[in-house]
């Protein structure tokens, strides 16, 4: 598998994502600076990592969504390349309108950083197939603006089309309908607030994130 991790100024989980992908899928991983106007050839996966791109100024992900590389990410997704936005990457995908909705300030105004239990709502996606019947997953969240928001109509549509992929068991941030992860209408673009890259081997407290990366490997 060949993957690219996009690096924005302020990304801080980019190297975690590289290590997680290498160890769980043996992928060849290239780091791609946000100013690039082309992507490496023959990619199977593009990761938008966690962090604080552009200092979270204005709105989380707002400036990053306008970075030159995002036009290439959008085109790659349209070609069928898997795109996974994790935490800040999820915010970037929403700001880029590659995913519906937005991430708001957490309901209690607090930054929340802890392990969370998730329901794997849809196991038929290219990001979850390796869960193979397991409905439970544990990953780590670390966010201050992680409350997923979309209007009721959009939420109904997401649920009706099986595009809610992960849901919190115990909603840590006030997300609408406890949504932790969604895919776009093509199924190629995933946004997930918890970090699979912080939960990919037992020493980290959970290895469930590895299943997400291995699902992508299998779909590549």
């Amino acid at each position: 598998m060949k993957a690219a991790v996009v690096v924005f100024p302020g990304s801080n989980c980019d190297r975690d994502c590289k290590v997680a992908l290498e160890r769980t899928t043996a992928a060849k991983v290239e780091m791609v600076w946000h100013q690039e106007t082309s992507l490496p050839a023959a990619l199977d996966l593009i990761v938008l990592p966690g962090g604080f791109a552009f200092g979270d100024y204005l709105r989380c992900g707002a400036m990053a969504a306008l970075s030159p590389v995002m036009a290439e990410v959008r085109a790659a997704a349209a070609r069928g390349v898997a795109v996974a936005g994790i935490c800040n990457g999820f915010q970037v995908l929403c700001e880029a309108q590659m995913l519906p909705g937005a991430l708001l300030r957490n309901a209690d105004l607090k930054y929340v950083c802890r392990n969370v239990d998730l329901e794997v709502v849809n196991q038929q996606t290219r990001f979850t197939a390796a869960f193979a019947g397991r409905r439970e997953a544990r990953m780590t969240v670390g966010n201050g603006e992680g409350a997923y928001f979309a209007d009721e109509e959009t939420l109904d549509e997401l649920e009706g089309e099986g595009r809610v992929v992960f849901r919190y068991r115990d909603n840590p941030n006030g997300s609408a309908r406890a949504i932790a992860g969604i895919v776009d209408e093509t199924g190629n673009v995933l946004g997930i607030m918890p970090h699979p890259d912080r939960a990919f081997e037992a020493e980290l407290g959970s290895a469930d994130g590895a299943l997400l990366f291995q699902s992508i490997l299998a779909s590549a």
């Binding site: 204005l58 700001e95 708001l104 300030r105 957490n106 309901a107 928001f149």
Partner: protein, 84 residues
Amino acid sequence: MTTPVRAVVHVFLKAGVLDVQGKAVENALHGLGWAGVSGVRVGRVIEFDIAAENPFEAETAVKAICEKLLANPVIEGYRVEVAP
């Protein structure tokens, strides 16, 4: 001839989007004794100069800027003031 026009943009969360900052400020004001305060909203103000032929052209450009970057139409509304 283009002359700089001063633009002031006010961005607020839309009605129906929970403004947790506004709620926290409102609770703090109640705690200080202002029991009559309600409907607090916290937003942001962005000011800049923009070159334009006339205020109408400036306003059109500023609105485009709001749609593109300054506000996220999914969650936010905005109000534009332009002054020559």
